[in-house]
Each structure stands twice: as C-alpha cells, then as structure tokens.
Symmetry: C3
Subunit: 138 residues, 3 copies
C-alpha cells in the first residue's frame, strides 16, 4: 500500500466518511489534535499520545477524564501550587510548559466539536501537564 | 540597511506588491510556510527549507512535486507500511512526526492560494516526512 | 488551591473580567502569546518571557519597545545584514529562527487587540530574535 492517496489534492478531505473542506474548522481541530499527539511524543508521554488518537476516534473519553482528574489530585497533594506565573528553568519543565500551550491551542480549536467532553479532557490535560512541569521544576 | 522597516506597524503588510491585512488569510498562509521552513531547519532538512522559500516565490513547483513523488516511491519500496497509527519512540522520528504536523498545518492554511500545486507539494511533503520518520524508527 | 477550576468546561472563559468565547479571537491571541512565552523559555530568553506576561497585563509596553529598538540598533552595528533568506545551520540559530516564526504568529493573532503597541512590540521582537539568530550563526 502507498501513503499517498492523492485524494486531498482538490482541497477536500474525509472525516468520519463525510467530505469536509481542508481549510475548514473540523480539519483544523483534527490537525491540531494531531500536532498535539506529536508534541506529546517529543516529551515521551506515549500513553497520552494514544489517548489523543482514541479521543479522535471518540473512544472512552469519560474514563480518560476521570483518570486525569485522579492524577491531578495526586500531584496537587504532592506539590505546592502558587497563584502566579511561573518562569520554568528546568529543561524538561520548559518543554512541558510549551506542550501545555499546544494543548490549549487544541482546546480552542476543539470548540467546533459537538462532544463537549473533548474540551473537558483537553482542559484537564493542560492542568495535568502544568503540574508535571511544576514537578520537574522542583 | 536595517531589518526594522516599521512598515507593518499599522496592521497592514505587503505581499507581492499588494497591501494585505496582517491578520488576514494570505499572511497567515505565508507565515505558516515560514514556520514550516523553520521547523524543517530544526531537523536538518535544509534542501526542503530552500524549496519552501522557492515555493513562496512560486518557482518550479511541478518539478519539486515530481522529486518528492520519486523519493516517496523509493522509500515505500524500502519500508514496510502498515495502515495504523504509529507511536514513534526514536528521538529523530518523534521530531519528524511533529514536523509532519506543521506541514499539515501549512497545507490547511495554503488552501487560500489560487495555485493548487502548492497544496499538492505540501501534501506530498507530509507523506515524505512521515516515511522519513518510519525509516528512522526502524 | 487547585489548578482545575472547571470554569472553562462550557466553552466560555474569562478575560479581564469579561466572558469571552474559548474559540474566539481574543483567547486565540492570548493563547498564542502564551505559546510564545513558552517557546522563549525553550531558548532561555527568560527576561522576554516575563515581558510577554507583562504585555498581556498591558504593563510598560512603550518602555519595552524602546528597549528592543536599542538592542536592535546595537546588534545591527555589530552584524553584517544581507537582504536575502538565510538558511541557518548553527543549532541555537535554527531554534531562534523557529521562535521568530512563533513571534510572527503571535503578531498576526494580536491584530485583534485595540492597543496597537502590542503589535509594534511583537514586530520589534521578531527583528530582535532574527538578529540573535544571525549572531549565533556567525
């Protein structure tokens, strides 16, 4: 099989069997989620990459939100959270802080989806990654 | 000469001698192609950076598409392609996978251009970079 | 205190005490400035990260523009500037070149703000970072 389908050359693409515009809001959201899974890979968060793929397939979103909220609770007990902007200096923390902003971008783009649980997942994911950055910074 | 022209301070900019809005779709596409050449530089793909500059100048796009399709054919013969999401683990492969998603973003933005060959070039480029990532992963 | 407020789950968010749409242009600009401060952190430009936070708080923008213009003047005297595309090869320079394109993206998004000084600051910032890249490349 070939990776090149030539199907998208006319400016349209497929999403769940429907023709959608390549420059439209649905593919912008899908593409940003793809960018998000890629940057999660840059910081070694492979399980979350897989979660993004599953969320794009609308699979088990509520369970994934619950898992993230549990992780957030654990980290919040472990870390001292202050209500101010943090300038991270640790190298891994600076990378995680960047990944957090890509999560936020994916969240803004995902407002186009009817399923609001995707938004909630991404919102918790940015909190979780912020806490991971704080943990690295300590 | 100075790099600071102060021409763009009023929210307008120039594109091929025409005044265009800095917040508009043409400069969004041009800026994303600029971001693309920059991330190609992060993974050492200097020849492709130069191709992006030439494409922004509308130069030799058909030749560049043919070159990419030849490279894609070669890599497809060399590699085993599977029809599933790949979670890359090799460090260079994870970077290439990210660069691929920036190509995709540039492709979505470039739907604004009249010349559809730019879209075709970017579509083949994302296939090519995906195959480069697979090759590094092996 | 908890980082998770659950306030944004309905697709709205707060900006200077006003309710704004999470998928709208104001939060897109704010989020892109956040992404910019994060990538400034990836290349160790901590003072500029802090400047971005202060600019988001509309603090001392004119002073910051003047500081950047002074730095630009100094670098322009020190470096030989040529009127052509540069393909950077030095690793730090390639990163700075990428950061420059994120500044440009933040500039395009910031056309939504009433305060045009934000645009001027970002315009000078992209010039400054370009010169930093040239300096690393030498």
């Amino acid at each position: 099989m070939s990776v090149t389908t030539k199907k998208g050359d006319g400016g349209m693409s497929e999403y769940f069997g429907k023709k959608v515009s390549k420059g439209g809001k649905i593919l912008e959201a899908v593409g940003t989620l793809d960018e998000l899974q890629a940057v999660l890979g840059l910081v070694g968060l492979e399980k979350l990459q897989n979660d993004i793929y599953e969320i794009m397939g609308k699979k088990d979103i509520l369970v994934k939100i619950e898992n993230l909220e549990n992780e957030i609770n654990k980290l919040e007990k472990e870390l001292k959270i202050e209500n101010k902007f943090v300038i991270f200096k640790n190298e891994k923390a600076t990378k995680l802080n960047w990944v957090r902003t890509v999560v936020r971008r994916a969240e803004r783009r995902s407002t186009i989806f009817k399923d609001k649980n995707i938004l909630i997942f991404l919102n918790r994911l940015s909190d979780f990654i912020y806490l991971l950055a704080l943990k690295e910074e300590k």
